[in-house]
Point group: C2
Chain length 191, copies 2
Amino acid sequence: MPIRDADATRARILAAATAEFAEHGLAGGRVDRIAATAQTNKAQLYHYFGNKETLFDLVFGHYVQTHVANGWFDPERLPEYAAGVYDYYLQDPVLVRLATWARLERTPTGDLYARVGGVDVQVVARIEMAQAQGILVDTMQPLDIYSLVIGMASSWAQSSLTFTATADEPEAVHAARRAALADAVRAAFCR
Amino acid sequence: MPIRDADATRARILAAATAEFAEHGLAGGRVDRIAATAQTNKAQLYHYFGNKETLFDLVFGHYVQTHVANGWFDPERLPEYAAGVYDYYLQDPVLVRLATWARLERTPTGDLYARVGGVDVQVVARIEMAQAQGILVDTMQPLDIYSLVIGMASSWAQSSLTFTATADEPEAVHAARRAALADAVRAAFCR
DNA sequence: CCTCTCTAACCAACTGGATAGTTAGAAGAC
DNA sequence: GTCTTCTAACTATCCAGTTGGTTAGAGAGG
């Protein structure tokens, strides 16, 4: 590993910025802290990423692209998918927090992922196919089904308007939530 | 109306702070802007409210207390309640935005309303009663049902991780979402 | 009814530290 | 030798919180 490595420095800044913005958001995030955590300095940061806002957008887009696997969504096993999302949010708060900051500070209305290429077109196509096959109810718009499922799965996430789950709760509590979530999704959307 | 009116000044500051914090959050909110909007000055603001953080908590608590009517929640008409929440969030983004900022910046885990007195105990009691009467499923914890319903109703709110609804969309779109939401809630929780 | 006094309400201007963004140049790598 | 990577130090602005007062108006005394 060379002492000077532009790619590695970029990566350290990106990682530090991801943690900082997930924790504090765009307005609350501090460029000095990011540079310090990344073991570099602000001049490097500004050289590679332009400005704070751009860095935030890039962090969010990058995190979505690397952590939301394209084929993960499965309309044919929607209850299991929802339960999986519950577990993911529990184990990794970064995605939810970044997404919520992005929503509040960058994209207050419309498609949250518009800056990042929009909601995967495949999602809609696959829900439609599952509806045609009689697996999912065909009385709702595909995107409405998708929104509701995400809304349900994020009920206990770090964006929750009620109660946010933590890993140190008893496993029985998580099991009960997972079961309630899967049951509710099944009853609501599966035929 | 006297030229000097402490109550009126307090009220103007609270109103201005509510708008400012709903828009920009705690870190992004500016005390100077609040004072200017309230047509007063920072010294008054600090005299009445101590500091920015205290003011934020007070704004959030006050908004919840004045805008979340106690008896509004109705476990016997859960689908209609959910649809009502959809409409409320559509027409007034302030509550959702304040709550989401409070979640991210003040209460990252646990009960969001802990600072404000906790989730209404009546909510649990009334869900339990509805379960005992066979109106709601009794295979889920009351709080889990509550969380899921709020999660579903806020699927298109300004905290949405997918798509945020706006008032200027065609009424047919809103009607479809309301129907999907009510149907899903009914299928998931009502017996 | 007028004037004096006292207090609560008010405010312009200030302070000190934080913060986004810049500069000018040092040093490793090829 | 020169191009890229790196850095300490700098700048200009912003911002939460404070200071040192001024002013409106209520009530008391005459």
